[in-house]
């Protein structure tokens, strides 16, 4: 491989090393996710004032928007690691791509359901075929397609290569979801939070939203570590290091 990639990255991509590394970070990531979640939800549900137009219904934003951001962020991670898996055939990149898909699908599902529950009282409808909602639904189908294709092959690594290909093609949908509110007329409101400019939201509502975003980021890290560890055990089940883990856990 190219020599500009540092040696520790090579070492980290070895399954037993990554298994240990992920095992060390997992509890910290999960603890930070729970901590941020508790603080963010307390700020969002208790401290933040009601919206002057939407009343308390707007409080769905504290889970809807972080989940929607995660649905796109995880797709980007999946697409990049799928690309790495196809080009350099690194087993760990395959694992990260394929184990990101169910987490991304979970967040996309949450986004659609919470959006629907928010749309009913505010727009008067559970669902409408407009650009933002439809492209987010397409995102869910892309995730499900990747998961399905991965499991459709007898040989796991062959399935991962086919699914990685679909994941890369589907990346085109991520900017479509993001910019859909600007490109088309839509019922969905425009973006409220702007990283590089002025956010159209009061600080009392913004900080719980950002804390919940952090919570979902940490949750994704923890869930990915947990899933990747399990998947590595399955992929390497014939190897000595996995045998030692299986025998070690039998004693407990």
């Amino acid at each position: 491989m190219a020599n500009w990639i540092p040696l520790w990255l090579h070492r980290l991509s070895s399954p037993p090393t990554f298994y240990r590394f992920a095992g060390t970070l997992l509890p910290w990531a999960m603890a930070l996710a729970v901590l941020c979640g508790i603080i963010g939800l307390y700020g969002g549900l208790v401290l933040a004032p009601a919206d002057y137009q939407q009343g308390d219904a707007y409080r769905i934003i504290f889970i809807h928007v972080p989940s929607a951001w995660m649905s796109m962020f995880i797709y980007a991670v999946m697409g990049v690691s799928a690309f790495i898996a196809l080009v350099w055939r690194i087993k760990l990149a395959e694992v990260v791509a394929m184990e990101s898909a169910p987490i991304g699908a979970a967040f996309t599902f949450i986004t659609l359901v919470t959006g629907s529950l928010w749309g009913k009282p505010m727009w008067g409808t559970w669902w409408t075929w407009d650009a933002r909602l439809t492209s987010e639904l397409v995102l869910l189908f892309l995730y499900l397609g990747v998961i399905g294709l991965y499991h459709a092959f007898e040989d796991r690594r062959q399935g991962a290569r086919a699914a990685a290909f679909l994941a890369i093609i589907g990346i085109i949908n991520v900017p479509i979801v993001h910019f859909s509110v600007n490109w088309w007329n839509t019922l969905h409101q425009g973006s409220t939070v702007n990283i590089f400019g002025h956010s159209k939201i009061s600080w009392d509502m913004l900080w719980p939203l950002l804390t919940m975003t952090l919570a979902t980021k940490f949750y994704y890290a923890a869930s990915l570590f947990r899933r990747a560890r399990t998947d590595l055990l399955s992929l390497e089940s014939g190897k000595d290091w996995v045998r030692r883990i299986a025998e070690g856990e039998a004693d407990r």
């Binding site: 219904a57 169910p102 009282p121 949750y219 089940s237």
Partner: protein, 83 residues
């Protein structure tokens, strides 16, 4: 303020919190879906891991039984049995 009064004040606050300004039927199901989906996502890989390691241990146990049997049973004689 008496204990009863403060209890009523607290329970009144809690009740208005759970009412969510009349939007309780939308807000709480949204939060329930959020937590149920994430809990399922957390539990699923744990169950898979337990099943995988269980299967692996069973396979290793079968292998070791086979090894022992091969070691204890008499090795096949190299000379053909006399008629």
């Amino acid at each position: 303020m008496s204990t009863l009064q403060s209890f009523l004040a607290v329970s009144g606050e809690a009740a208005s919190f759970f009412k969510m300004g009349g939007y309780a039927t939308y807000v709480w199901p949204a939060y329930a879906v959020f937590f149920l989906v994430l809990i399922a996502d957390t539990v699923a890989p744990r169950l898979r891991r337990r099943r995988l390691l269980g299967e692996l241990r069973a396979r290793l146990a079968r292998q070791s039984v086979r090894h022992e049997r091969d070691a204890t049973s008499a090795p096949p004689s190299s000379t053909p049995p006399s008629a």
